[in-house]
Symmetry: C2
Subunit: 134 residues, 2 copies
DNA sequence: TATAATCCTATTGACATAGTAGGTTTTTCT
DNA sequence: AGAAAAACCTACTATGTCAATAGGATTATA
């Protein structure tokens, strides 16, 4: 029941970008040094963020990455879902699928579903801008 | 960000026990068959529950396991913490320890802490008896 | 005393995590 | 034009956890 470094680093990367003036782009090398995270590892993380359209990238010398929306419009939840995958604490195929092998006993499902909602709602209620203000 | 089978199975085991009359003990073999979980794997899970005092065990033939409190007095949270370990979604030693290497940038900590509280509070607000009633 | 249960220690295969390595392409600055 | 600095791409690896299995030792009952 842990968020992996992938999700945590992705978030710190986004916060780092958000701390810089809009429209200016920041290289991974800078972020890597500032945050103390391996450059190569950051590369693999940022790739997913770009592919999902959360970030724009600028090639070549002087290039880097930048947000493509105002920080208020990024929900922490969406960033983590991209970096981390589904945030539901339990993925019970047996339950969500056509039949659960222990239908009667599966009293826990409702609880897991509600917990998943709780987590997603909380994280979707926080924006990048909110994080900066902390 | 997933609860492992250890936690999920532990909970189902507890629910199974709670469905039986108090003071009667149930063997793992029965639970294993009813829940479709490997007997040997259940053994390793139940060991922790007994050691933590959540269950009583009765040795020898005719033995088994039973709850030692009424179902209302078990919080789902405490069961999961025993089976699963800490339920905090992030354990940042750098932050919780004496010094954080990126104190200024560590804007995410407060959020993680609050999420952890949210999860624990939700799961501590549900008892075994509540689960049965679902 | 046979049986049926808990208890204990060790091992294993599969998979994900957390990174590393080395190079290619693209763009800018000199 | 050419060097430099950045993103981009593919592959590899070590470590660790998960999920389970295996085989037996101990305990108590019938």
């Amino acid at each position: 029941m842990k968020i992996s470094t992938k999700g945590r680093y992705a978030l710190r990367l986004m916060v780092d970008l958000a701390e810089h003036p809009e429209a200016s782009c920041v290289s991974l090398k800078e972020i890597s040094e500032r945050q103390g995270i391996s450059l190569k590892y950051l590369e693999s993380i940022v790739a997913g963020l770009v592919k999902s359209g959360l970030l724009d990238s600028i090639h070549g010398k002087g290039g880097g990455y930048k947000l493509n929306r105002p920080a208020e419009n990024y929900k922490v939840g969406e960033i983590l879902r991209v970096a981390e995958g589904d945030l539901a604490p339990v993925s019970c195929e047996a339950c969500s699928g056509e039949k659960c092998s222990h239908i009667g006993e599966c009293k826990t499902k409702t609880m897991w579903d509600k917990l998943g909602e709780l987590i997603n709602d909380y994280l979707d209620g926080i924006s990048l801008a909110d994080l900066l203000a902390m």
